[in-house]
Subunit: 321 residues, 2 copies
């Protein structure tokens, strides 16, 4: 095992499934010990009294090679005996809890109750999963995504999993974000003059990246960071690879295009990676004052993840601040 | 499904494994809808944030025919994938949590947090397990068995499971027992003039029965009850079938004999069932003013459970109050 405490050369910000694919690519391309992956915690919630951190888990499972690659979430070779028994008892089964996955939630909850921080717990879990990169929660404090919909406010998982994103969204807010302290390791990394790149993974800008940007100091620190900040489009050819990103962008009154995402991030962004299917958007994005790279951004296997990661890192190397 | 809300003809008090065997015998012998089984809650504890009620679970699993009959606790055809993953994460694995069994703890915890009483939850679980008898916690309040040992006080599960009863015991106390309200359904049943028998199952008198007797009003109500109160010996030929009963009796300075148990209960007892291997104890127990029945009390299969249950009920029918 390599030491994971040295200052990272690359910091990546990621939500769950889509972002984790690029994070995996970066991990397999890059000297893993100098990679820091910052995970969203806006989706975290309490279920059956357990503290569940879906994005941190997806990152951990994906990067360690333990994820169910078909589903994109959860563990490979999972069993569902607890879930079946819960169903029999009339329990709530709208959120999938695999038998192995449950161990993560149980042990995280036990350690939180024992006073450990989410950073300490996540770091130790990474050691146990033999991950040599640092995966860190964006904060040790609670930041809770609330979905503002036509039917009123909804807790994130109620909207996302229980109701399958059916409600029409009018906005989001991130409870606790103004009091939450950003992870000091993340802030230190952004201040480090030897940092080579910050990568905003192809995650949902409103659901996965915004809760991190909403924490006081994060957006400013990204803006002031000496390394180039590069985002990879989560929108390809007018849609998202998976999940409700396109639907949400539309409901919020934006056009479903990579331009919308680039524009949304433009105050702290230096470069933007659009998909080869969206070459037409390049000029408009350049007009925002950003460098643009065109690449295949659909990641179907380890090779395409690694290819995109290499492209992003090379682009960052050439990107003007 | 029969209605379970009519007043019971037989009330049984039981701890876990040993007591549950006789409870199972009573259930399969007797008109199940008029059987009320009162379970000990002194062993209940919080683990990983979950509310675990080992004795209620053992009763429920045994009586529904779902228990692992070899181990005596837990569910048959159980899987241990969560437990293995917990081990990998460096979690606490001293208390066995099967994947299916976990569902019981998760759903109980969820419902307690939602404001349901332990009685409501246990009754609903029984319906889901298709048990037509009433299994009830002795109280909806917390009663916590503390084991006083040579090394100081220990939480019950630390003593019983984690340390495998190694410490030398000097006494027990039941935190919360003086404030706890006995289950009103139990109290009503004991007051009912149509009640035919109260059975103290062959459970550990100090660990399983005493926490129930310690709740204010219970011992008095048993004493004043119009139905005969019958106990079945947990001690056979100078030992217990399973568990630390003999060790504890010895450490508390008593002789390991059915007489000790009969004497311990004598203020509210009318009849006592000794094992055929302990005929020699009959005279001494009779001298306590109790009726005595001699029977095989080792229950190895359903037939021997049913046989003993029938003997106990017949004995109760002939027992003078």
């Amino acid at each position: 095992m390599k030491c994971v405490n040295e200052s990272p050369s690359v910091v990546a910000l990621s939500g769950g499934i889509g972002g984790a694919k690029l994070a995996m690519g970066l991990y397999s391309t890059y000297s893993s010990r100098s990679l820091m992956i910052i995970g969203n915690i806006g989706d975290d919630f309490e279920h059956y009294g357990l503290h569940i951190s879906p994005d941190l888990d997806t990152l951990m499972y994906t990067i360690s090679g333990n994820s169910d690659t078909e589903k994109g979430w959860g563990l490979a070779e999972e069993s569902w005996n607890c879930m079946e028994s819960l169903e029999r008892l009339g329990g709530e089964t709208w959120f999938n809890l695999g038998d192995k996955d449950l161990a993560t939630h149980l042990e995280r909850t036990r350690r939180i109750m024992a006073g450990e921080s989410l950073t300490e717990i996540t770091s130790d879990f990474c050691r146990k999963f033999k991950i040599s990169a640092q995966i860190l929660p964006v904060s040790n404090d609670s930041v809770k995504t609330i979905v503002e919909t036509e039917n009123g406010d909804m807790d994130f998982q109620d909207y996302f999993v229980r109701d399958q994103c059916k409600a029409i969204v009018s906005g989001f807010r991130f409870e606790g974000s103004s009091q939450a302290e950003p992870n000091p390791l993340f802030m230190e990394a952004l201040s480090d003059p030897s940092l080579r790149a910050v990568v905003i993974c192809p995650s949902n800008p409103f659901l996965s990246i915004d809760p991190m940007l909403a924490i006081r100091g994060v957006r400013e620190k990204l803006r002031d960071c000496s390394a180039p900040v590069i985002a990879v489009t989560p929108i390809i050819n007018g849609n998202a690879v998976k999940g409700p990103t396109a639907k949400i962008i539309r409901e919020l009154g934006y056009t479903v295009s990579p331009y919308t995402v680039a524009e949304y991030y433009k105050d702290f962004l230096d470069g933007f990676v659009v998909d080869i299917r969206d070459k037409a958007a390049v000029c408009d994005i350049k007009r925002l004052g950003l460098s643009v790279e065109v690449s295949n951004t659909i990641m179907t296997d380890l090779a395409s993840k690694t290819d995109l990661a290499q492209t992003v890192l090379k682009f960052a190397g050439n990107c003007k601040k």
